[in-house]
Amino acid sequence: MIIDVERFFTQNRPQWQQLEKLLDRLEAGDRLPYDEARRLHYLYERTSADLARLSTFAAESEAGAYLGALVGRAYAEIYETRRRKARFRPVHWFFRDFPRTFRRHLAAFGLAVALSVGGSAFGAFAVAIDADAKHVLMPFPGLEGNPGDRVRKEEAGPNPSLAGHRSTFSAELMTHNIRVSFFTLALGITWGVGSVLMLFYNGVILGAVAFDYVRAGYSTFLLGWLLPHGVIEIPAILVAGQASFVLAGALLGRGDRRPRRDRLRAATPSVVTLAGGAAVMLVWAGIVESFVSQYHQPVLPYGIKIAFGLVEVALLVTFLAFSGRRGEST
């Protein structure tokens, strides 16, 4: 036979165990000094050679599994070239990484916007030509009624059922919207088909509702109602759509000759950053929707609500366009 198993084991076991100890330390987050790192590499190569020798005589021995696992672990530590962040810095991430990632994938955001605008136009058009369309398109019964009734009800005073439940309502809005945005992102895995449908459908609802209120002459109410939270919430969903298109783009790989796995590997940080950014935006939108948007004239004049919304838009645009510009490679 090719090798003397007994001697092979007794001679090499100390090296294997030493490699195992080094790997345990590395996996626990230790950093190795230079000499030990070199030793690690030496032991890795030696153990690889042992595995190669062993696999010549037994297809799947236990010793082979042991050495295979050892080589696998060492391989992960030695060949990993992706930069490992020392520590996650939330502020740095939100004010630098997120807007930079947003700008890097502006085309994907543009696609999400275009789909939503297209959906809105379709929704408005559908309600305009077919009175019955409203009942089919609206996802909530609250939106199906006559805009005039709704406005009168809202203006009669804050919704009594919300009194003492604003935090709960706010939490529900946040979690629901974040769930929707994550779902939109996840739909990117359908090569973007699901995300296209989702964004378009969101647009349809928005367009239908908006047209319904505008036609009935309640434009000011609508703006006051939607702007304070909508100017953050809608862009957040669009950012989630952007993330889903980045994911879909990596899957499709048009004009990119790298293998799919490499494309996905490269896109992962962007997708995750955009999803996180959208979630943060939706937390803000949830608070505003519960604590500002539900108060109407006369409690809170529409002018103030609209101005509040416009200030938010200005801040959001400034943030996404300029935050983290310093030192950014173009």
Partner: protein, 256 residues
């Protein structure tokens, strides 16, 4: 039974190693355990939130909703990050998430594979993810495909102790060097491997099948080379195979 699928990787040095992949059933069981853990964690948190109710019932309900959400989304992410690819359920089942190319798992990969549960869990009970696991080559759900991760069966194999098992024993077959040489010549690597496996794992086998296995192996090797009957007298099948293995895997000409 089909053999378990494996993820096989080749290092730049040309060394091939592989990981056994976790099947959909063990992954499902791990998931169920994780659900149970989340549910009990929630039940405990509800007790804590109950105290907040005295301050403001509204706040208590709001905090409860947010905690539930964070726990649901964050549980998998946090554990897989802290435990290098394992949640409580995965640890119990002995499975682990690793990078699809055998490299280190990054935080981005963990977040992405967990966010894509939104699609994998559709329409209910992870039907989409389960189906994807069944048809993809490396048993990956969509989250794994997007994040380029795989779930492997991960038992830490013990350091092999074969040397101890074979050492310091008198090997009566060695009295006949020419028969030993013939045995080496006529045995294939596969046969030798099977005998070696049987010896290494002999303590894991129940007594009755163990007896049967070594009887079978002994009969098989006896058809290759016939040792004189006096050598085999009083030698159990297991001892015989142990001697055979020692001869097969030893350097020729090395004395007993």
């Amino acid at each position: 039974m089909t053999p378990a699928r494996r993820l096989t990787l080749r290092t730049p040095e040309g060394i091939v190693f592989s990981w056994p992949l976790a099947g959909p059933v063990s992954r499902m069981l791990a998931l169920l355990i994780d659900f149970a853990v989340i549910a009990s964690a929630l039940a405990m948190l509800q007790q804590g939130i109950g105290l907040l109710r005295f301050v403001s019932p509204d706040w208590a309900a709001g905090v409860g909703i947010i905690l539930y959400f964070v726990l649901q989304i964050g549980y998998g992410i946090a554990f897989e990050w802290l435990w290098r690819g394992q949640t409580i359920g995965k640890r119990v089942l002995g499975i682990r998430v690793i990078d699809g190319e055998g490299l280190r798992l990054t935080a981005g990969q963990i977040v992405l594979r967990n966010l894509l549960r939104a699609v994998d869990s559709l329409p209910a009970i992870y039907a989409v993810g389960g189906l994807a696991c069944a048809i993809t080559r490396h048993t990956q759900r969509f989250g794994d495909l997007a994040a380029n991760t795989v779930v492997i069966r991960h038992q830490k194999p013990a350091t092999p102790e074969l040397g101890e098992a074979l050492r310091h024993r008198y090997n009566s077959l060695r009295q006949y060097p020419h028969l030993c040489a013939r045995l080496r010549q006529r045995s294939t690597p596969d046969e030798a491997g099977a005998a070696l496996e049987a010896i290494i794992r002999r303590d894991e086998i129940d007594p009755a099948p163990r007896l049967e296995l070594f009887d079978d192996l002994a009969r098989h090797f006896q058809t290759k080379v016939e040792f004189p009957p006096e050598v085999l007298d009083g030698l159990s099948s297991e001892q015989y195979i142990r001697d055979v293995v020692q001869i097969l895997f030893d350097e020729p000409g090395r004395g007993a």
